[in-house]
């Protein structure tokens, strides 16, 4: 009797962990670090800054996530955001384009870049990893050509532009954009047939085809979405940095992938998903900030980053396996 009760609660626990593992980790991180650094860790300044800078990572993670629902890698997102932010500043500073027009141009460029990526993958049938890697190199070339490898300082950007990433009633506006984008993506992926189509392609492209889903069009759409998200992230990054450096961007690639893949272990374990991605980005950012505030040696953060990735994923893989085992056992 007691045995089955503990058995049942253990089951419930593993089920809960496998779905909400990241949320638990997030809560732990918040509790531990705000106990250790009560005055600074949860200060509005720190939260505001973290949310603002992590918004970029979150948007890029979404950009990675979209094609990844269909099982395609987009390795160009890092260089793409770099080009977008260079263009955004460059058009304003060098060509005196008003910022809303510059933003439109950057978004249009993002759409075209996504389209090319998609066409390379669907029409030319190039492996997505390599096509987008090549594309990334081309984009990096364009950034460097446009700037001649030099920084474009944006000393006289209009307040309306720099204010894009400011605060309203103490709330970082950038985080609101991410929330809106997240909700839209969530609705598309979880509540619309087109989103289900993307997931179906990701798990079995052949079955998708036989079910009448036009695989090329869906994949193309995913890459275009990814391009637009990169452009949006680039616009916001330009507003945050207020200066354009062509080398910016590549450093986002791995964190974006880390966010998506770590996120795929929670909420909808085993599949990349919007909420998991957001949670993962937050967990990585807040834990990292906490470690920095503790004044640990600089290399500790690398250990921490690697460690949290591995531990969080093992935990949720373990929980998901247990859960699946129980499901199978129960059904046989």
């Amino acid at each position: 009797m007691t045995q089955t009760t503990t058995g049942r609660s253990f089951k419930a626990l593993t089920g809960f962990v496998s779905i909400y593992g990241l949320l638990i980790v997030f809560a732990l991180v918040l509790i531990v670090f705000s106990a250790l650094r009560p005055n600074t860790f949860l200060s509005s300044g720190n939260i505001g800054n973290l949310l603002t800078s992590q918004s970029i990572t979150a948007l890029l993670a979404f950009a990675v996530m979209l094609p990844l629902t269909t099982g395609r890698f987009d390795m160009s997102v890092g260089y793409h955001i770099g080009l977008a932010h260079v263009l955004m500043i460059g058009l304003q500073v060098n060509a005196a384009v008003p910022w809303p027009l510059a933003a439109l141009i950057v978004l249009a460029a993002g759409l075209v870049i996504g389209l090319i990526n998609g066409l390379l993958v669907t029409r030319f049938k190039i492996d997505a990893f390599i096509a987008t890697m090549g594309m990334g190199s081309l984009l990096y070339g364009v950034s460097n050509w446009y700037t001649d490898g030099q920084q474009i300082p944006g000393f006289s950007l209009p307040d309306s532009f720099t204010g894009l990433t400011g605060f309203v009633h103490g709330v970082p506006v950038t985080a609101l954009y991410v929330a809106v984008v997240g909700i839209i993506l969530w609705v598309i992926l979880e509540r619309m047939p087109v989103g289900r189509g993307l997931y179906v392609i990701g798990s079995n492209a052949r079955a998708a085809e036989l079910s009448g889903i036009s695989v090329p069009n869906y994949v193309l759409g995913a890459f275009i979405g990814s391009g637009l998200l990169c452009a949006l992230a680039g616009i916001l990054l330009a507003s945050i940095l207020r200066a354009a450096t062509p080398s910016v961007g590549a450093e986002y690639l791995l964190p974006a992938f880390a966010g998506v893949l770590l996120g795929a272990t929670s909420i909808k374990p085993g599949r990349v998903n919007v909420l998991g991605t957001l949670l993962a980005v937050l967990v990585l950012a807040f834990s990292f900030s906490g470690v920095q505030q503790l004044g640990a040696a600089f290399y500790v953060e690398y250990f921490f980053n690697g460690g949290i990735l591995i531990i969080a994923v093992s935990l949720s893989v373990y929980a998901a396996n247990r859960r699946r085992k129980e499901a199978v056992a129960a059904s046989s």
Binding site: R191, E209, L210, S211, S331, S332
Partner: protein, 518 residues
């Protein structure tokens, strides 16, 4: 529009795959409210024809007329529904979502209504009068026959004008096949027309109204079903006559059993006892969920036994043995789910024949001569009559039946004492089936013990020396010699179940109960 105008009329359909003709000026015509059987040997072009109707492939030439109007399945959505030969299921999505993928997503305010998606599951299983499985179960956790059923029922959600079924019964238990046939008849009576592809010719009599035979990508014959005999169909298919009444039981040898299974419990079902002698072909049949697949997998080391002993050639096997260990000990297994468990896509026929040379007694770091391998592969393709006979071709280029022959060749040619074959001739045409049965008998005669786990009762009846009917992991009965007939098997497998209240439309509770859980 006249009454004689066919519902669907296909003319001059030609499809080249990289230059080779899969369909060569093929024609087909489907009348209103008929069940029309489409048959032909492996690679005759049946699936290609169907995929063109479905808009999966583009035809090179030819026209498709639906109710007299020319249509293009590639760009139009037509009132046709398909059950394809390859299971088009998404393993890591739930049952209800796999259903919605084909049957459509019920929506509320433009957004998917997930509750309704789950609700439609049971309604859809009702069309085949089969108790539904838990809508939230992952498809990956379904057994092969359960997947086959799911693959079929989701197409039956809406009554289309035309329903096309490509070998739906290849992995379907006999009882479920009958439920399918009933559903098909009901749909026909409601006015639907059905194209039905099968290699199990005996099913067609009493089911189909007309039959069309394809050979080498062409239509060679169309007839009313009641005006044609089985051997005529086979002659049209193969271009030669074949003795359908093949049945060659070898005298049972009086040797010590090579395999002894005692008290075997798997997945909490059992216990099971049986023995297998060298030279014997033993069939394991059962209801869906009877556990006969699990028995084979356990013997092969792909599943863990919970209790019992397995003795091979006098040696008790360790339940912790790996698959590799069991192969070394002399047990091989041909998996039933060809696409997900047997073939290696994007790899050549050589590599598909010899994926693991270790099982041919080689060591991991031994040099292998490509010329010898090519020779060995060629010889096997010849023996199993695989077409195209090109050992460098990718497995993906072969028709379903030919892929099956390659997988069979992989295992039948491996050394060993016991061969476990799940659905050994699934999707294989009648001519090849007879040839394969002959090869299996030869292998048995040479001293192999063969365990056939098949849902094709006709196959079990003609091929096996002895058959065990498995119910919930236990032997419900045994049929030997003259008593081993299709009728005998059906009788035993339904009577053998304890609560066989409504054998026709209701699966025995005991066997199905687990599927309701989850």
């Amino acid at each position: 529009m006249t009454d004689t105008q066919p519902l669907l009329d296909v003319r001059g359909l030609t499809k080249r795959f990289f230059g080779s003709l899969a369909l060569d000026n093929a024609a087909f015509s489907l009348a209103r409210g008929e069940i029309h059987a489409l048959v032909g040997e492996n690679g005759a072009g049946k699936s290609t024809f169907i995929k063109i109707l479905a808009g999966v492939y583009d035809a090179d030439e030819g026209e498709i007329l639906l109710e007299g109007a020319r249509v293009d399945p590639r760009s139009q959505s037509l009132p046709l529904a398909f059950v394809h030969q390859d299971l088009a299921l998404v393993d890591d999505l739930s049952v209800c979502e796999n259903i919605a993928l084909v049957a459509g997503y019920p929506r509320k305010a433009g957004l998917i209504d997930w509750r309704a998606v789950m609700r439609q599951t049971s309604a859809i299983y009702e069309t085949m009068r089969i108790p539904p499985v838990d809508p939230n179960r992952l498809v990956a956790t379904l057994s092969t026959p359960e997947k086959a059923i799911l693959n079929i029922v989701r197409t039956l959600a809406h009554t289309p004008k035309v329903l096309v079924l490509d070998e739906p019964t290849a992995a379907l238990p006999e009882q479920d096949a009958h439920r399918l046939f009933d559903a098909m008849r009901r749909m026909r009576d409601q006015g639907a027309s059905i194209i039905y592809v099968s290699h199990r010719l005996h099913e067609l009599f009493g089911l189909a109204d007309r039959i069309t035979v394809f050979r080498d990508g062409r239509r060679v014959h169309t007839a009313a079903m009641n005006e044609i005999t089985g051997s005529e169909i086979v002659e049209q298919m193969l271009g030669r006559a074949v003795d359908l009444a093949h049945r060659a039981h070898a005298p049972v040898r009086d040797e010590e059993p090579v395999l002894k299974v005692e008290g075997l419990v798997v997945d909490r079902r059992g216990p099971l006892d049986f023995t297998l002698r060298p030279g014997e072909v033993l069939g394991l049949v059962g209801l869906r969920g009877g556990g006969q697949e699990a028995v084979g997998r356990t013997l092969f080391g792909a599943k863990r036994a919970e209790a019992g002993t397995i003795t091979l050639a006098g040696r008790t096997l360790d339940h912790q043995d790996s698959i590799g260990g069991r192969i070394k000990a002399g047990i091989v297994l041909l998996a039933g789910d060809r696409t997900s468990e047997s073939t290696f896509p994007a790899m050549s026929l050589i590599e598909n024949l010899f994926p693991n040379p270790l099982i041919r007694g080689r060591s991991a770091f031994e040099l292998v001569s490509p010329a010898a391998e090519r020779r060995a592969a060629k010889e096997r393709l010849d023996r199993f009559d695989v077409r195209p006979r090109n050992e460098g071709a990718m497995i993906d280029w072969l028709s379903g039946g030919n892929q099956q022959k390659v997988c069979l060749a992989r295992w039948l040619e491996a050394d060993g004492k016991v061969a476990i074959l799940e659905e050994p001739t699934a999707g294989v045409d009648i001519g090849a089936k007879i040839a394969i049965h002959r090869m299996l008998r030869e292998a048995a005669a040479a001293g192999r013990a063969i365990l056939v786990i098949s849902s094709d009762l006709e196959e079990v009846a003609t091929l096996c020396d002895r058959a065990l009917v498995i119910d919930r992991g236990r032997a419900a009965g045994e049929l030997v010699g003259e008593r081993l007939t299709i009728d005998g098997l059906i009788a035993l497998s339904t009577l053998g179940a304890p609560t066989a209240a409504a054998p026709e439309h209701q699966a025995p509770k005991g066997a199905d109960a687990p599927h309701l859980g989850g």
